[in-house]
């Protein structure tokens, strides 16, 4: 079974409180020497335009499946002792967090690489679509900013 807890959330969450609570569930901590995390947060501006809100659409069933596969892929080359992957769906507002990826490993090399790889794969493979509400109307976000 995957050691990574994956969840889609339709309400706002605080990633650091989630990580604090998540870590309490570890039954054993002796090997967890390294934790790498990434938090993506909604900005107030995108491409120079003020963004008032965002709708995050997903493909129920496929999104979860892809996230599981992305984590499974990362586990083929990196040790993942534990992890947490949260992603918002629905209406999101500036300053709210969109995504949290956290990976615990014995050593930092695996933790860093797995967190980064999961995040990049999520950006290109997990079906989510952002529609921004601007002052003058709505628009679909067409491309992600490059990660590497």
């Amino acid at each position: 079974m995957s050691p990574v807890q994956i969840e889609l959330r339709d309400t706002s969450f605080d990633p650091f409180q989630e990580l604090f609570e998540h870590r309490k569930t570890f039954s054993k901590i002796g090997n967890h020497g390294a934790c790498s995390t990434f938090v993506g947060t909604m900005r107030e501006y995108n491409g120079g335009d003020r963004v008032l809100a965002m709708q995050l659409e997903h493909y129920s069933g496929m999104t979860e499946k892809q996230l599981e596969e992305i984590v499974g892929e990362a586990r083929k080359t990196h040790e993942i002792l534990d992890g947490l992957l949260l992603h918002r769906i629905g209406n999101v507002y500036p300053g709210e967090d969109i995504v949290l990826v956290a990976v615990w490993s014995t050593h930092r090399k695996d933790a860093f690489a797995a967190c980064r790889e999961i995040m990049e794969a999520l950006k290109s493979k997990a079906p989510f679509w952002k529609k921004e509400t601007l002052v003058e109307g709505d628009r679909w976000v067409e491309n992600n900013t490059p990660g590497v």
Partner: protein, 76 residues
């Protein structure tokens, strides 16, 4: 042969179709299915999933498949 078709995000808005059950007798591939639904060419940026797994435009469709079309993803 029955195919359940879904469109997402900007493609859903452009086609005006959210989901649709298509009688696909005589259709063989994803490409055939697309052509039966719209006059637009199948853009190479359009992503396709068959039963929630990514597939190419030449993937063969079979009875009961759920086929989804969607634009490049922008999550994270």
């Amino acid at each position: 042969m029955t195919i359940h078709v879904r469109f997402f995000a900007s493609l859903r808005e452009r086609t005006g179709i959210d989901s649709k059950t298509v009688d696909a007798d005589g259709l063989h591939s994803i490409r055939d299915l697309w052509s039966a639904l719209t006059d637009e060419p199948l853009d190479e940026t359009t992503l396709v999933a068959v039963n929630k797994t990514y597939a190419g435009p030449d993937h063969a469709i079979t009875d009961g498949d759920e086929v989804a079309f969607f634009p490049p993803i922008t999550g994270g």
